[in-house]
Symmetry: C2
Subunit: 159 residues, 2 copies
Amino acid sequence: MSVEIERKFLVKSDHWRSLAKGTVYRQGYILTTNKTATVRVRIVGDHAYLTLKGKTAGLARSEFEYPIPIEDAKIILETLCDRPLIEKTRYRIPLNNVVWEVDEFSGENQGLILAEVELIHENQSLELPDWIGEEVSGDLKYYNVNLCQNPYQLWTTKN
Amino acid sequence: MSVEIERKFLVKSDHWRSLAKGTVYRQGYILTTNKTATVRVRIVGDHAYLTLKGKTAGLARSEFEYPIPIEDAKIILETLCDRPLIEKTRYRIPLNNVVWEVDEFSGENQGLILAEVELIHENQSLELPDWIGEEVSGDLKYYNVNLCQNPYQLWTTKN
């Protein structure tokens, strides 16, 4: 198990685009009846992962991630995961001792761009690049699992 | 991925007890909103597994099983799985080219004993030992995931 401490922001300009090349992520969720657990299958390039995540407490969240055969992941995405799948291109941008991950969504979440940063501890100070906009760390609708249930394209109010 | 073809029966006598020693199984489910996928975490002795199962079609069901660290499994059972957990002792009984697995449940499913046999193909002939009772292969309430939601002790009509 690892514990993930994450802050999440909107972006307010395209200045991040020149800073990194993107990698395509394709992932799906098996939606759960309780609000505690998230079950995710993700394909990144030639690799695939099955991940369980626990409840968020503040910025922290327990995470259990296991590599699985990509052929399994394809079948699980196709036959077991809820729709829509989440498709996005992730740009990794190292800046000032942290790594920003900018996710540009496509498919039913096209138009949404989120920037996330993983921290060592919750009170870690963080220098915000000029392209970083409003913080949305606590806002449930930006969770990827919720973008599967209520994709961005269906939002009546968009930031 | 493997495909599991299974038949399930009640037992009608204790004649199976002298045929095998039991192993304790402790497992839990993260209940899903769709009826297609099952997410199970299981501890057997020193080993632990994370398993996804697909929808049952006839007697067959797709299964994706991955070994995980037992310490992870304990935390997942404790913090992410729905209640009650399933606790049972499994007796493996090889007979006439198949292996019968007799599950004697405890905890909130105490009193229930099920015998399962895994087959190579759906039409495989099967010799039934004298201690095998009614077949319950298609009966959803005997699925372990449903014994988590509606445990045997709460049933008003018991076989």
